[in-house]
Symmetry: C2
Subunit: 335 residues, 2 copies
Amino acid sequence: MITIYDIAKECGCSSATVSKVFNQTGNISEKKRREVLETAQRLGYVPNVAARSLVRQRSNMVGVLLYVDESLGLRHGLFAEILNRFRAELEKNNYEIVLISEKGETWGGRFLDHCRALRLDGVFCLCCKYESEAVRELIGGNIPLVAFESPYEEKPSIESKNFEGARRLTEYLIENGHREITFIAGTDIPITHDRIAGYKAALKEHHIPFEEERLLHTSFFSNDRGSRATELLLSSPKPFTAVMYPDDYTAISAYRDLKAAGYRVGENISVTGFDGVNFGEMAMPKLTTIRQDAVRIGEGAARMLLDLIDGKEVPCGKTRLETELVIGESVKKIG
Amino acid sequence: MITIYDIAKECGCSSATVSKVFNQTGNISEKKRREVLETAQRLGYVPNVAARSLVRQRSNMVGVLLYVDESLGLRHGLFAEILNRFRAELEKNNYEIVLISEKGETWGGRFLDHCRALRLDGVFCLCCKYESEAVRELIGGNIPLVAFESPYEEKPSIESKNFEGARRLTEYLIENGHREITFIAGTDIPITHDRIAGYKAALKEHHIPFEEERLLHTSFFSNDRGSRATELLLSSPKPFTAVMYPDDYTAISAYRDLKAAGYRVGENISVTGFDGVNFGEMAMPKLTTIRQDAVRIGEGAARMLLDLIDGKEVPCGKTRLETELVIGESVKKIG
DNA sequence: CTGAAAGCGCTAACAG
DNA sequence: CTGTTAGCGCTTTCAG
């Protein structure tokens, strides 16, 4: 591997001069600049980022914390898309992206130590188990950090307007004549509470009494096909004309179970999802859902993190982004 | 940030001793070892990987080259799952994973320079445009590298037995009484040719003449809904009782178009996919397809790369892995 | 405009 | 068993 010394020797100058050329710092004569650049090219010189990190005290790398299991993490369209936009934004600013897996045992599961060892300039908690001690510790650390759907207020975080989204979705069902609406809530995390509140708010606005039996509890999609949600539904005591599933995947995988139970989605039962991943569009009938704005989430997280790294002021706590009602064919107008 | 010098001072020994403790190298008295470890813990010491990389001349990082656009890259279940297993395997060996995006402009799109600057110990080309100059250059470079579905023989690569997979799938259709089978081939890359060959082989074995008009050409799934494939199909001159789509996503998104054209999948038309991503199972009717073994692909790639990094001999050229026929409900027995 | 020199934090002989 | 020392490749004052 050739170094700045090699090219300095070739050009008959010092390594400092070469360094300055590459950093566009200091005043270097146009002539020398050209010469340096040319011989660098000719010799196939590439800077050593490790050496640079060492002296600059910054790695130019950011980590993305990702819990990965059967169904979550990158397999999930929402997270994949957020990551994609986040990545694009950071690349523009010359940052490298390092995957920090929540399953990783490299540092004995201590993410904070892991990130500190890498001297990461920042961390994006995209998909993680916030209740775990290791994540807590990371969030409590002093690395610039933004999170998605975080329960903690001490660091900047971003998420969708889940309350409004769920309210709008419920409202849409009500507008379509539904009054017996069962809500299957997802994993017990703050955003789920927001959605439940949104559901209740919509009912209230339309003078429909909330009934505890219509609120079912399960988790977000996992690879056991999400049929657990439908089992719950089918064994619930209350009759219903519409069912709100916790997410698109669960909803779509429920189509099959509902059919087996004699329902026809979009006809004698109305179904909704949440997230707006593109499989909803492929499903038949097309799923009515709330789309989360993955683009804005990813770019927003990137922007906030870059600002934090640059030492700018970024407000702690949640930033909530608009969602959009996506009208498919899975809701039938009744009454 | 505290360094080995800080902890050396605390322990009244030299930095070398501390270093040795952390590297489990050299002989250090149990007593000193304990002391060093304890004060390290107490002071919150974390090694600086950049410094270590610099002196060791290896980064302990591997890159994953990923082309990301609307539909590809992480959004695709197959790639996401391969990456997941690859990651898991590398983590066990204490490697960090850096995402190298094929869209990245950081190094003027020169992946090889990018990877060399990072001093990556190895690279996995998971999803990339092999025909591009930059990828060619990377593959031609001297960084340990393995690829997925690579057209180049000069480096180790891994892929499914596409010939056998397509043959088996075709055969399954034939076993179910189909003789008018249209094959919609995907993007024009080597694996597509293998699949076409497999299709032809199955026909031949069963004495069904191959007809050029039954071979349609499109690309793998992209977000324009894959309906292009179905357009092609519907405007093709030959009658058909079965259609083999290039991949699961295209097949599933075709359900809608086929229905619009008056077909009922699994009844008056039989449909197959390719890949075995889990959405095939959610679809109704469940998709009959060929499952690629993402687990083995990911782990295999990891294994090969680790061996390469360790200087072991790894054969160049393709390693082909078994696939599995997944029987769904999208194929109707006829005749 | 250019260069000398002092590190960044760590490792790896080599001595002792 | 422990310490000395010479870098790894680069940046950054500070002189000149």
